[in-house]
């Protein structure tokens, strides 16, 4: 079979997956909430705490405020697409139909993930970067590296959740449990960061945050740029990671995400018997 011949079934699966994942008006609803959330939660005043003084830190702070509002919408979308969408396809035998296509199994999973995560990511980043351009082009563009690092650090944990959900959905061949685990993991990280904060303050050691940063490097980045704003010195965490340490935490977290996705690919290609 020629390359063109291989490409067509892939596009067929991708088109079908996008059609299923983003039935009218899901895409439009999520785009609406992304745009609204991005502007409603954007804040420049959070960048004005005494600890945040450099333009680079302001760029981080503004980008972070924009992400925080829409990240929950992004997580909901990938929860729906990965757990519910793929789970449904496995339950209804649609994946079995795809297996009859002249396409490798990893191609089928790639098409499904491109639709479930890729399109969502494209929508999220497209709206966010346009919003940053509308709001503060002179803050963002001179510090594009900081902005990209902030997005990379913030998206690492949602991608980790989606990898775990994907593995669970493939293993259990239904999306319900994967969906619940995804929600629990998202809430658990917020609880864990609260606990880590008190442990770090009481023991005067940043170890708890260093451990958390391996799976969610956004904490390392936050402390690199001065930590939480507007809190008393009594509650300060004695941790100022360097930029290279922050990059290392981000790299480590993406290493974990990549290994989980590879595991899912191996399971889908070799072990999944339908």
């Amino acid at each position: 079979m020629t390359n063109m011949g291989k490409g067509k079934p892939f596009l067929e699966v991708l088109a079908s997956a996008i059609h299923e994942d983003f039935r009218f008006p899901f895409l439009e609803l999520f785009a609406f909430f992304y745009a609204l959330g991005t502007f409603v939660f954007a804040s420049f005043t959070v960048g004005l705490s005494s600890q945040i003084t450099t333009n680079e830190a302001i760029a981080y702070s503004v980008t972070n405020s924009l992400i925080s509002g829409s990240l929950i919408v992004f997580i909901l979308l990938i929860l729906k697409n990965v757990a519910y969408g793929l789970g449904n396809d496995l339950e209804k035998g649609i994946i079995q139909t795809y297996f009859s296509y002249p396409l490798r199994r990893r191609g089928i999973l790639t098409a499904k993930l491109l639709s479930a995560i890729g399109v969502s990511l494209l929508l999220f980043l497209g709206i966010q970067i346009s919003a940053l351009y509308i709001l503060a082009p002179d803050i963002v563009f001179p510090h594009l590296g900081t902005v990209i690092l902030t997005y990379a650090a913030s998206l690492s944990y949602p991608l980790l959740i989606s990898a775990i959900m994907l593995l669970l959905t493939l293993k259990l061949r239904r999306g319900g449990i994967g969906l619940v685990v995804g929600i629990v993991l998202y809430v658990a990280m917020n609880i864990a960061s609260g606990i880590a904060f008190f442990v770090a303050v009481s023991t005067k050691s940043p170890l708890a945050f260093q451990i958390l940063s391996v799976i969610s490097p956004t904490y390392a980045l936050q402390y690199h740029y001065g930590g939480l704003s507007g809190i008393s010195d009594i509650f300060s965490v004695p941790w100022i990671p360097t930029l290279s340490e922050t990059l290392l935490y981000t790299g480590a977290s993406y290493g974990i995400v990549a290994s989980l996705f590879i595991l899912a690919y191996v399971y889908f290609s070799r072990r999944l018997n339908l």
């Binding site: 088109a15 983003f22 439009e28 785009a31 745009a35 502007f39 420049f44 960048g47």
Partner: protein
């Protein structure tokens, strides 16, 4: 062909959804953070500081309206005017016409905008694209004539620069409609057939 119609159509409906969100954002009312009004005369070569704000950010807008009898120049400078404590008069702003002349001659990059007003009204608003210190000053450039000034300055805070967001929404929505129409017509035809 049908696939392209669907892709463009969904792109169009997404663009319409984003436009609606932007329109909603632009309709959220602004909060007035500060406002000042006043009037008075300015002697030849004299200056008056109408407004000075540290850390003016892209979610804030300075609105200015002046009525001038005579000739005055309005300057918005990227500058933080420091206050100096005087035991007799209290805090005074440490900026005079010599400082302004120095900026005009040596540091013109500090001028965000300037406008000369002669016997008339002038209105302008300004939203920065980064965080900066801003100071609004009026200067009487005349050597011999006094000028009379009536001014109103306010600082508004909003989610996003309303005009910019509204303009994008007004452009994006029709483009979205144009892209979506063939896809919507297709759907309508399919439903009619079935």
């Amino acid at each position: 062909m049908k696939r392209w119609t669907t892709i463009l159509g969904r792109g169009g409906t997404t663009l319409i959804a984003i436009s609606l969100a932007l329109l909603l954002v632009s309709l959220i009312p602004t909060i007035q953070m500060f406002s000042t009004e006043g009037s008075g005369s300015l002697s030849p070569g004299g200056i008056r500081i109408l407004f000075s704000q540290q850390n003016l950010n892209p979610q804030q807008e300075v609105q200015i309206a002046v009525t001038v009898e005579g000739k005055l120049t309005v300057y918005l400078l990227e500058l933080n005017i420091e206050l100096e404590f005087n035991p007799e008069t209290g805090f005074v702003q440490r900026f005079n016409s010599t400082d302004l002349q120095q900026i005009l001659q040596e540091n013109r990059d500090l001028i965000i905008w300037e406008h000369e007003v002669e016997n008339g009204d002038y209105k302008r608003s300004y939203t920065p694209t980064r965080i900066l210190n801003a100071t609004l000053i009026v200067y009487n450039p005349s050597d011999s004539e006094n000028a009379y000034l009536d001014h109103s300055v306010s600082l508004q805070s909003s989610l996003a620069p309303g005009d910019k967001v509204r303009t994008i929404a007004y452009w994006a929505a029709p483009i979205g409609v144009i892209l979506a129409i063939p896809w919507l017509v297709n759907i309508w035809k399919e439903r009619k057939q079935s």
